[in-house]
Amino acid sequence: MKLIDSIDKWLDDTGEKLGKKTIRYNPDLIGAVLMFGLSVAFLLMMPSQIKLTETSTINARTFPRLVFMIVLVLSVLLFFKEIAKIVLKKGSASRELNLLVEVRALIIFVFIAMYYLLLEPIGFIASSIVFGICMTAYFRVRKWYYYAIVAACAIAVGLVFQYVLHVRLP
């Protein structure tokens, strides 16, 4: 119990420190650059990824090309709109990332990724139990029966899909 208390205290202290740390960023500028890059990349990839079998000008590339051209134009527009805001000092779309929130999301994402990677090697029910227990521990639950409920739910979901819906789970 003392060990759990000291871990809890360490987690609280670390959380408090992380909670104070923030990163400022401009979502419009980053978003515009990201979308511009993606649209250019996909437009360049198009000839190799969509092979034409017909000679018509209206073909399998027409629609995706139109879509990427729209994204390209709009991302340029978004970029310059934001630059203009910064230059004219009209209040740019600046945001703050709280490190604690992001670390928490990252931990959950790691759990989800682990769950996915364990699906095939150990099977659905076992990986679900492991994931469920990790997630319950993440919420720092001390009541043992919470862990039992989550594990029971994992087994129940597995059995329902396998025997009621006839899905052959891994």
């Binding site: 209206i58 879509v67 990427f68 959950i108 989800i112 899905v167």
Partner: protein
């Protein structure tokens, strides 16, 4: 008339009513628990409908959709936390009633109003949808493309803070929908020599990632929950007097009409309807100063409106194939999974199924009333389920659901990827709902776009070749102007503050 009778006959199977009630139960539970959404519930249980057939699967999903709107009011009234955003207006007068020791009465009003709103909109759907469908039958491929463009524009415009970002998100959805085999030529697109990409991405798999798994990432915070003591609630008197019924009637009727009108317009939804109605009810009330302090008219107005939206949103969906909001977009996906292509011909090719679904909606509201009347105690207790239990169970459901679509572990990976993508996009202020609309409308939009251009030999003038086309172009321009104007107004208010 024969189609209607045949529809009723198809509806009256015990399995339809069982699925309807299971859907209602799930919808109320997900609606009542703050943090869980109706959309999450529909996404999680969508894989269950794959083997059901169109009528039972729609009874199940519509049950979730309708009950979710009502369920949100339970937590809004009891713990001042709306289970769904639609119930935010209900909270304004619902929670003060709880503070006065009248929570049971507030929940009763919410239930009666929700049922009235739901029934009203179901009847509007029953009588109006076939008429709109007759008009829709006059449309060809260019008109159809413009309708899709209109739906995408409105939803992209109203989903986030920026119209540009909304349209980019819609384009991402359209692109994702185009991956895989091209239905018109049989060639492959963006499959990167990976056989798993060959048939494209299943809507359900994308939805699980975009809206269910990403929710888990967004809700990484350990939230404390407010406990509800049902012992105190049980002792309360919930009877409504004749004068109270009389007081509730005018705002309820007005809100039902507002809810239906708002529901028909794509991009607007139950939240807008409930606030519009709340304000309208206040302006016609003789007890204006009681609003916000536990006025029964306020609860009646908000709850009637948010349930009156449910049937109305199905009018553009079933007749034109345009989803009014994100939940209905998933229903559109469910229709497609069952081989029903929403749009002008749906009532001619699948009239029996359509009438069975529409009449089923009337019964859904009746059963919602019965479940609400007898199971409210249970739903109030469910609010107490800790998030530490719910979160892992939802993730497990997501994995099982994603796997079950094609019994493929690769699909689970796709869902995880979409969850990550949604998380990054949300952090960059890109709304995810237009992605969903793009995904759902992608194939129809592209097909009609290409067919139109093939007919016109590549000339874009085909998109302005008929009065209906011109009408839709005017609507798109009007929508853009309106969205642009409201965004500018929003920005001005923000900078003033």
């Amino acid at each position: 008339m024969d189609v209607v009778i045949e529809g009723i006959r198809n509806l009256f199977h015990i399995s339809n009513f069982i699925y309807m009630n299971i859907g209602l139960l799930l919808g109320m539970i997900f609606g009542a628990i703050p943090g869980l959404t109706v959309m999450l519930c529909i996404v999680l249980f969508l894989p269950f409908t794959y083997t059901m057939g169109p009528i039972p699967s729609f009874m199940f999903l519509l049950g979730i959709y309708c009950a979710g709107s009502y369920g949100g009011s339970i937590s809004a009234i009891l713990i001042k936390t709306p289970g769904t955003p639609h119930a935010a207006a209900t909270m304004l007068d619902g929670y003060p009633m709880t503070q006065m020791g009248k929570s049971k009465k507030a929940m009763k009003i919410a239930l009666y109003a929700s049922t009235f709103g739901g029934l009203f909109s179901a009847l509007v759907l029953l009588f109006f949808a076939p008429q709109v469908s007759k008009f829709a039958r006059m449309m060809g491929t260019p008109e159809y493309f413009l309708i899709c463009a209109l739906g995408l524009t409105i939803i992209a415009g109203v989903s986030g803070k920026s119209l540009i970002k909304g349209v980019i998100s819609g384009c991402i959805g359209l692109f994702i929908a185009s991956i895989g085999v091209d239905p018109m030529t049989g060639g492959t697109r963006f499959i990167f020599n990976n056989i798993n990409f060959y048939s494209g991405f299943d809507i359900t798999i994308c939805l699980i990632g975009l809206f269910a798994l990403s929710e888990i990432l967004m809700k990484s915070k350990r939230e404390s929950i407010v406990k509800v003591s049902m012992d105190e609630v049980s002792k309360e008197d919930d009877s409504l007097s004749k004068s109270e019924y009389k007081r509730m009637a005018p705002p309820a009727i007005l809100s039902a009409i507002i809810g239906v009108i708002v529901g028909i317009i794509p991009g607007t939804g139950a939240s807008e309807a409930s606030f519009f109605s709340y304000n309208a009810a206040r302006s016609i009330s003789k007890h204006r100063d009681e609003f916000g302090k536990g006025n029964i008219e306020g609860i009646a107005a908000a709850e009637t409106a948010n349930n009156a939206v449910t049937g109305a949103t199905l009018i553009p969906l079933l007749t034109l194939g345009i989803p009014g909001d994100a939940c209905v977009a998933i229903l559109l996906g469910a229709l497609m999974i069952n081989g029903l292509t929403p749009g002008p011909n749906l009532f001619t090719t699948h009239g029996v199924t359509m009438y069975a679904i529409i009449i089923g909606l009337v019964f859904i509201n009746i059963f919602m009333f019965l479940q609400g009347k007898y199971l409210t105690k249970l739903f109030a207790k469910i609010i107490n389920i800790p998030i530490s239990i719910l979160t892992p169970v939802i993730a497990i459901f997501c994995f099982a659901g994603a796997f079950s679509v094609n019994t493929s572990v690769f699909d689970v990976g796709v869902s995880v990827f979409f969850a990550f993508m949604a998380y990054v996009l949300i952090k960059l202020d890109f709304p995810t709902v237009p992605i969903l609309i793009g995904l759902v409308l992608g194939k129809t939009t592209e097909e009609n776009f290409r067919r139109s251009l093939i007919i016109s030999d590549g000339s874009w003038s085909i998109f302005a070749s008929s009065p209906i086309c011109i009408g839709f172009i005017i609507l798109i321009i009007a929508a853009l102007v309106f969205i642009f104007y409201s965004k500018m107004k929003e920005m001005k208010t923000e900078s003033d503050n």
